[in-house]
């Protein structure tokens, strides 16, 4: 009855310290409409608080959404948040606002991972939204965040994670995730193939972390000018030299016998291992030697899955077996006297081993 006789034309609440409700912030970040947000809050029992009614809740939600919208411009360049004058927000709340704004759904990130962060992809957001159940508005925000971070750090020198942290004031964990996204987007790793679908964002993020830490220019040389985003060309080139491990028949046999000697009785799939050793070794070394081509770099993960993980899986290797095998496979190369590329080998195998172990699951 009341609503017919009057209508709210304007309704604002401004606090000297900006009033921020974290739960409502999350709803806003999730891309909910005000109406949905109010419904969700009612379902969560907000009406029990403070003798509220639906009207109060609606007013509060609208007001909060508006506040966040006003803050959004600042959140897009987080360094401004601390020295802007418009909103008085205590530092720990500023941190919360920024961190939450840049947080993303790993489901979403998994879909975008390795794709070119361009406008063309943005049109696909609709599909991703309907696939993952994430509201389109939220997809937009997450995608724009990826793009923004990518654009800023793409050309920057120095360690990737630190660059992201410095420019976007994110926590270490979140900055690492963003580093993964930037890294994947930059190298355009293939992640979308059906066979890779079982891998989660965290799997890839871990792998990206490994690659960034050990295979980029910044990994060996700590000079600030170095770039973290690209793999070290020289190293990739050197990987060609590993071919000798499979091309040289003696070396391959010697390698096999060394590994077999170590693993006998220690793994359940010994016979399967013995049978497929040459194939597996050839797969790993071939992947290494092909990495000079950008196309093959992109296929790194699909290659690992198709050429190594799948064979092992079909032979029902356990993760423990795999770990033992990789450890000895990698270390026994040191006793191959004819092999000169020990350093390159370790740098390669260290990363490959941890990536495979991370990726080896159902």
């Amino acid at each position: 009855m009341l609503f017919k006789k009057m209508s709210m034309e304007l309704d604002v609440f401004v606090g000297n310290t900006t009033v921020l409700d974290e739960d409502v912030y999350q709803l806003w970040l999730d891309g909910q409409t005000v109406t949905d947000a109010v419904r969700i809050r009612i379902e969560a029992g907000a009406l029990q608080e403070c003798e509220a009614n639906a009207e109060v809740l609606l007013s509060d939600t609208m007001d909060q959404f508006r506040t966040f919208q006003m803050c959004e411009r600042l959140l897009q360049s987080p360094s401004k948040v601390a020295n802007q004058l418009l909103f008085q927000i205590p530092p720990h709340r500023q941190t919360m606002l920024i961190e939450r704004y840049y947080e993303f759904d790993s489901m979403f990130a998994r879909e975008v991972l390795g794709k070119k962060l361009s406008k063309g992809t943005k049109k696909d957001l609709d599909d991703i939204g309907s696939k993952t159940g994430i509201v389109l508005k939220s997809c937009r925000r997450q995608f724009d965040n990826f793009k923004r971070v990518f654009k800023v750090v793409e050309e920057l020198k120095g360690p990737l994670v630190e660059n992201i942290q410095r420019h976007f004031l994110l926590s270490d964990v979140l900055a690492r995730d963003y580093a993964a996204i930037v890294f994947f987007a930059n190298s355009r790793f293939e992640t979308g193939k059906r066979k890779l679908q079982y891998l989660s964002f965290q799997d890839f993020a871990f792998c990206a972390g490994q690659l960034i830490s050990y295979w980029t220019v910044g990994a060996v040389d700590n000079v600030v000018e170095n770039m973290d985003v690209d793999l070290e060309k020289e190293f990739l080139h050197d990987l060609k030299d590993l071919k000798v491990l499979v091309n040289d028949k003696d070396m391959l046999d010697q390698h096999k016998s060394l590994v077999c000697a170590q693993l006998r009785g220690k793994i359940k799939v010994f016979s399967e291992m013995e049978a497929s050793f040459k194939n597996l070794s050839r797969a790993l070394v071939n992947i290494a030697s092909k990495l000079t081509h950008t196309k093959d770099v992109r296929d790194l993960f699909i290659d690992l899955v198709e050429k190594f993980i799948e064979p092992c899986r079909s032979d029902k290797w356990t993760i423990g077996d795999l770990r033992l095998f990789l450890t000895h496979y990698s270390s026994s190369v040191h006793t191959l006297e004819a092999f000169r590329r020990q350093v390159i080998w370790d740098r390669y195998m260290g990363v490959i081993k941890s990536c495979i172990l991370k990726m080896y699951h159902d």
């Binding site: 009057m6 401004v14 009033v19 003798e51 509220a52 109060v56 007001d63 006003m70 004058l85 720990h92």
Partner: protein
Amino acid sequence: MPGKLKAKIVAGRHLPVMDRASDLTDAFVEVKFGNTTFKTDVYPKSLNPQWNSEWFKFEVDDEDLQDEPLQITVLDHDTYSANDAIGKVYIDIDPLLCSEAATVISGWLPIYDTIHGIRGEINVLVKVDLFNDLNRFRQSSCGVKFFCTTSIPRCYRAVMVHGFVEELVVNEDPEYQWIDRIRTPRASNEARQRLIFLMSGELQRKIGLKVLEMGGNAVVGYLQCFDLEGETGLVVRAIGTACTLEKISTLPATATHPSNSSPSKDMKEPGFGEEAPGVPLSSGPPTPLRAQTFSSFSPSKSYSRQSSSSDTELSLTPKTGMGSGGSAGKEAGPLKALLRQQTQSALEQREYPFFTLTAFPPGFLLHVGGVVSARSVKLLDRIHNPDEPETRDAWWEEIRQEIKSHAKALGCHAVVGYSESTSICEEVCILSASGTAAILSSRFMQDGSLDTEHRFEEVVPPGCGFCHIPYDELNIPFPAQLTYCYCCRRYKVPDVLFTTIDLPTEANVTGKGCLIQARLCRTKKKAQGEGNATAISNLLPFLEYELHTQLMNKLKLRGMNALFGLRIQISVGETMLLGLASATGVYLTALPSPGGIQVAGKTPSDITYEQHISNMQKKINDTISKNKELHEINPPEVVEEIIGSPIPEPRQRSRLFRSHSESSDEVSELDLSHGKKDAFVLEIDDTDAVEDIHALLTDSPTPAGFYSCNTEIMPGIQNWTSAIQMFTSVRVFRLNANLTNQGLNKIFSDLCENLLKSLYFKLRSMVPCCLCHLNFTVAIPEDELIQVAVTAVAMSFDKEQSLENGKQSGEKTLIKAITENDEQLQFNLELNAETSSPNPLSSPKGLSEVGSHPSARDRCSSWIEQLKLKAHTIRRGSVKTTSSLEKASPLPEGRSRSLRSNRSYSGSSVAVVKMTPLSFIPGAKIIKYLGIINMFFIRETTSLREEGGVSGFLHTFIAEVFAMVRAHVAALGGNAVVSYSMKECVFMENPNKNQAQCLINVSGDAVIFIQESELESTSVQTQSATTHTSNGGEGT
């Protein structure tokens, strides 16, 4: 050339992109003061220019220094076309003109544009070199301090309170000049902003001159308002209380000077028993004249005569203070007194014994008569000479005279808590003034250099003295039920007390208080000119009467007996009048317990009807008892009186007010000071009454953990944490249908209730908390639109300590009283027998031995112990605060936070500036007042939808205003604004054209505070020993 103003432009940051091609800006700055302009170099292609300019020097008269703002304009250089303005900064340099305030303005200030809002920031340095000018006929009043605070500012001591100062200036409103048709909205807005800056400067200077003339050095309770009359002009008017203030040395207060913390202490000398202590109206013989007059009075003196004489005395005071000083007056003695008597009538014409203060130094406020108010309806288009202030001066004069005579009728010689306001709709203007009739002690009325014998010490039983009636019992100006004071049992008190002032700190209060609002809408026919004015005049008395009845009923419903901070606002629109009365209800221990509300039916024959009545009665009774529980109202004695109070005859209902409201045509008057129990019989003889009762019961109680009041402090809550949240909320409603009065009332009442509910919900993370200074402003911006604006502060308190602290609060007043009274043994001994007032004992042990009253004994059991406890709880409290803050972190700036921020001033991050409408900051000590903040902004948009509609537009604007206030305070070196208020918020929209405009005027006092915990840590040892004194001084 008495002054040199120096300004340096350091840098800019976050500038907007002005050149789309390069995404950069070529910025430079124009610095203008008066007619002189300087420019910086162009800093090319940057959004963060570093100008690092030379010092621009302006050599100017101090008169100009007071009137003019420093105007800084940031522009984008354009080689081929005109330079584009990015925005402006107006800097009020007044704070730099006073030696005790700020010395430099330095910091990042938002660059503001009336169309785009804040567009980046600019870092500036401003200084003033002032040469002393001893010219007697000077036009400037540099050095007079201004305070918005309506009490004696915290780090000052009142040496003298001179009295009322007022001034009014008029100018043509730039928006209504012919040129406005051809200039841009930006130019027009800027002309208006600048004009208002100039006018406020001029106004302040003129008021300062009056203060100097009176011999004062400060204006306290400075209230400046704008009347946007439209065609007839733009009026800026101000009122205030001229004082002579003396700075209390700041830091040692805790350790070395226990006495300093109580401002009046120094003046206390052993009193003389010329008159019995505590006699009402015994303002003593402060001047020879009064000594003489009084001595001739018999004990049964005529109060009316006396009040008129004291009236004269008050009116004279400003003159006494002028130049000559009090000692001269004393020497002249009776002769001079005689002269004064002769000039009395002439003086009464000019002088107003008004005080804009709402809180007073201890012992200043003796008795309170009640609320006095006056209203008058005027037609703006009938002003003969609109450019001159005379007509408006005359209007206000008329109203003030009215107020004065009302006060006199109440046997009072002064009006305190005085304020003035207007409401304008088209050519109709309602002028309103209200205050509280009171009797004041002469202590602060003359020079402190008087002999001791004239420094008569007033000894009123603390906590109830102000309730004692100032008027003659046999000659009451209105019917009221008087009883003997429930505290001292010696003097008469009224049954209900309404006032516009804050609750005196010494007042004895039972339980807690709460916000009480009366809301009313009245439809009115559209009319023009004279007819319209008459219609409004005719409606006003009814409006006031109904508001008053509502207040009374609601007060009763809460089981309370007094209202403080009463503010009645009446707004006029084309087709309706809105009335909103807000006040804080309390139960004064000294006043009798209020009777209940009795519902009486007209036709007792009908059984169902009777049942209906009894149901309603039950509901009311339930509400009353529930409310009493809620507000912890358990009067120590005579509880049964409430229940068993005889029900008066129903027919007596409200006869009294009708006669009042018919009394005047243009000026309506209402004495809200009284209330008879019989006013609370609600007769259900018409639907109106049924509605009334429903309306009564619809006010929902505040949610658990919340308290609310519109005064400075909430009785019963002392242990504030440092978590405060000031906020402004604005709502505009559109009425969609033709509504009856009742429909309107319901809607209006629901609006206010819902707004309150929203506030509670918003601030729920601060619970337990109290919304203080909860002041609503209503307006009718357009036909069928109602605008409600609220500015208040939410303050958290520690719940676990509240019980303990209830004791402590008593303790506090007690101790305070002791410090004040301990030298006046002879009076207090006399009082002991009858009163529960604190006992004057020089030795702490003695306290527990005396104290006839059980609760007093309880409270006093051992004050040393209590003090230890207090010191303990303070320390404990700080720990608790932090933890509770973490939990409640969403809202307030916490203690830990503000501590950090205080220290990291020069850091790159922005310093926290607290804002509060109160005169103090909980848990902190104000160590310096930096000057008054008085800012006026206009914001306009032609892309309303793009800015998020009306709400988005106003939300941004209010946030921007806060940001600018904070930045200016920080630039002055301050970390808080106290006594902050939003005086004006005029919002106009035209959604069809996608346009909106808003004007906001805010004011407050910029201060530096330090957390008490910091003080404590420096002097823990001494602190515990002197806690009581510092607390007494804080007077929280």
